[in-house]
Symmetry: C3
Subunit: 145 residues, 3 copies
């Protein structure tokens, strides 16, 4: 969590682009929500010509982004709009400024149906979460029952 899927035309992004974009995406969650970095997963998927269609026509200049939010549900219209604004800001240099069309949507999924490295992730802002963030890895701990 968060889990991003980014569909692009083939070879739209170099490995350097992908690293930079995934760093920019990671920074949203680290800077604003103090999430451990390693919670942020971004998958890039090259889509060959004639595999993406928009309005019934091939869309070979299109970037489609779909993400799931798990660890933090965003409460309140303001914070949700702010998040979407941050997403657009981080994407701009890679997508809008390069002349691609694009669309983004987010789903929210149940926090209790999530495991990382086989562990129940610690509660938001708990000491264990802070430790995981500091060490940037999942560390076994005693789950409160």
């Amino acid at each position: 969590m968060p889990y991003w899927e980014i569909f692009t035309p083939e070879n739209a992004f170099t490995p350097e682009d992908k690293e930079q974009l995934s760093e920019a995406i990671t920074s949203i969650y680290v800077d604003y929500q103090s999430l451990p970095k390693f919670y942020v997963v971004v998958l890039f998927k090259d889509m060959p010509a004639n595999t993406m269609y928009v309005g019934g026509k091939p869309a070979n200049n299109f970037v489609r982004i779909r993400l799931d939010h798990i660890a933090r549900q965003m409460d309140g219209a303001e914070i949700r709009a702010m998040f979407m604004g941050l997403v657009e800001e981080k994407l701009a240099a890679f997508v809008k400024d390069r002349g691609y069309d694009w669309e983004v949507h987010v789903d929210e999924t149940p926090i209790d149906l999530w495991r990382t490295q086989g562990l129940v992730p610690p509660p938001a802002h708990s000491d264990v979460e802070k430790l995981w963030a500091k060490e940037n890895r999942a560390i076994p701990y005693e789950v409160a029952s």
Copy 2:
């Protein structure tokens, strides 16, 4: 929104098939909900042999479709069943009639966590949405606050 992912055996569909099927899918939303055409995104994904499994066995004659609905939540059992009926009707010529096995499911995701071309999509049936539909593109407008 709507966002369709269609997983097929490799080369199951020609580019012409994909264009026709994505047009048929688009027509559901344009004819029944007056959505702008460009809201309808369909991604086709070729799945090589031994990458799809059904009930623990390789399923190399299988089409799996997963979609997200964002812009319109469908209220009422009747309209939801009617929508699923339309989906099956549009798919039939490409899937059932060609002898594939198939399965479809739909998720519904939050409308406020969706942007197209960096813009907040206009309210359903608003004048701006009608303009977007007529021009078949996202046009900046003043978002009511």
Copy 3:
């Protein structure tokens, strides 16, 4: 339903691995929920180097699993935790024991927006579902209205 997507480094799993893992996944639903086997769909997706990023860095030793639950919503914290435990147990031989990093999350989607072979799946634990399970295929029946 259930619908699993498993993203792995290229060639992480042989066809034999994939068949065994999908059988292990299927057994969760058959043994604990008496679902028809063919409800369980698992898609495996090879991810080339530099297409998966974790915390802004390439993650070329990472298995990411995302699944949708449709047919059965799991009620109660205990059953949900038990399910996640079973998932980890079934994955271990293929993922943890082979030294991969991994993460899993589950979404839950509306049961009424699901069709298999064009049919409305029968109610949980109904006689028709039992017949589908026994025959391991979708059989047309009269849907109660």
